[in-house]
Symmetry: C2
Subunit: 222 residues, 2 copies
């Protein structure tokens, strides 16, 4: 059986879970704790990072961008990239925007300080990093809102992996109560559309013990 090695609050893993669900690819979820340096997991991925996808035939694919391209190549039905190279480039640019820039400026700061330090048992949250993350989040919400006003979906006329990348980050941040949805109405309306897709449901019912989400988290009409 196909397997996805993941962490529940990783935006990279959530992006792949959304891609798998949208493409109707079933996979068993194996939860990892990369900070324990488990040897079996390091054998799968020497980088020691989630997600790692193991296909039916035993093919192991590590890194969320590599997993996405692999799924798109091996399961081209229900594509999550547009047809033309220029539109595909725009979708991939936005994935890099969210997974590199938004991750570095927002998600990494807030998840590390609010969740990961507690999980690993490693010290007090750094309030300067939390403030920086929250401040940068407003800029990213505005950019998402600006894209959502100009286009049907973030990268253009079709739903693409860029929508899932952005929604994966926001769903992690929403889980820890850090998204002020009043800040951008177009961003909120776009997120409501992504959130109401069947592919999103498993994320919304996935609860981490010790970290209860705010009441609106699983609400489709938030």
């Amino acid at each position: 059986m196909r397997r996805l090695h993941h962490q529940p609050l990783s935006p990279f893993c959530r992006k792949i879970r959304l891609v798998l669900a949208e493409k109707r690819i079933e996979a068993v979820l194996a939860e990892e704790t990369p900070w324990t340096r488990d040897l079996d997991f390091l054998r799968l991925n020497p980088a020691g990072q989630t997600p790692v996808f193991v296909d039916d035939d035993g093919t192991v694919v590590a890194d969320s961008a590599a997993i996405f391209e692999y799924l798109e190549e091996t399961r081209p039905e229900r594509p999550l990239l547009p047809r033309s190279p220029a539109e595909r480039a725009e979708a991939r640019r936005l994935v890099a925007w969210f997974d590199d820039k938004m991750h570095r400026e927002v998600t990494a700061n807030l998840l590390e300080e609010r969740v990961m330090k507690k999980l690993r048992g490693g010290g007090h949250p750094d309030s300067a990093r939390i403030r920086a993350g929250l401040r940068n989040l407003t800029i990213h919400l505005e950019y998402i809102g600006w894209l959502a006003e100009k286009r049907k979906w973030l990268a253009g006329d079709e739903l693409t992996v860029a929508d899932f990348a952005a929604a994966a980050h926001l769903s992690c941040l929403d889980y820890i109560g850090d998204v002020n949805w009043d800040h951008s109405l177009p961003a909120r309306e776009w997120y409501a559309r992504v959130k109401s897709r069947p592919a999103f449901r498993p994320l919304l019912s996935d609860l981490m013990s010790g970290f209860p989400p705010p009441p609106h988290y699983a609400d489709l009409d938030f």
Copy 2:
């Protein structure tokens, strides 16, 4: 005419320059200084980062992974990804290894402290970051050597973008004299093979004023 907006010592830009040259795609180089927040450049790429590729027809592609996939899709001759999805995934995993992990652990530390701070006029080098970068570099050299011993090229039997990603980082580090080539003979031999390709020549003759490379930098028999 096609254009690549770049920075001379950026490993992401060097990777794309190698890809362009290997695919025999000519492009004018436009040097950028992203820290000056030039508005024309921000209009091309709101992330304010190099590389940005502008194609003949005006298509603008930002982010080095998106540019690479775009070039591979629009110029499939002289491919830099293997044929099968599993092998393509391995090449992309390694690109992520070098561009995410090696960059964060090694290249970003050393380039920022030794070059970028001087270029931007922003303070003294942080010797702790330099030491960490140098220490981590030995581990990455060993990994490259281990791959080069097991395989003909880093991702398998064929030269791929993974070789160019790794060589782009090492060429930046070699320019600032930080690579101890005695540390891994297989890594050195693999790098000599990549370095002797015609695609590599423009990188070796590209000198930055104020930052002379060590004598062996452009030597094919280093």
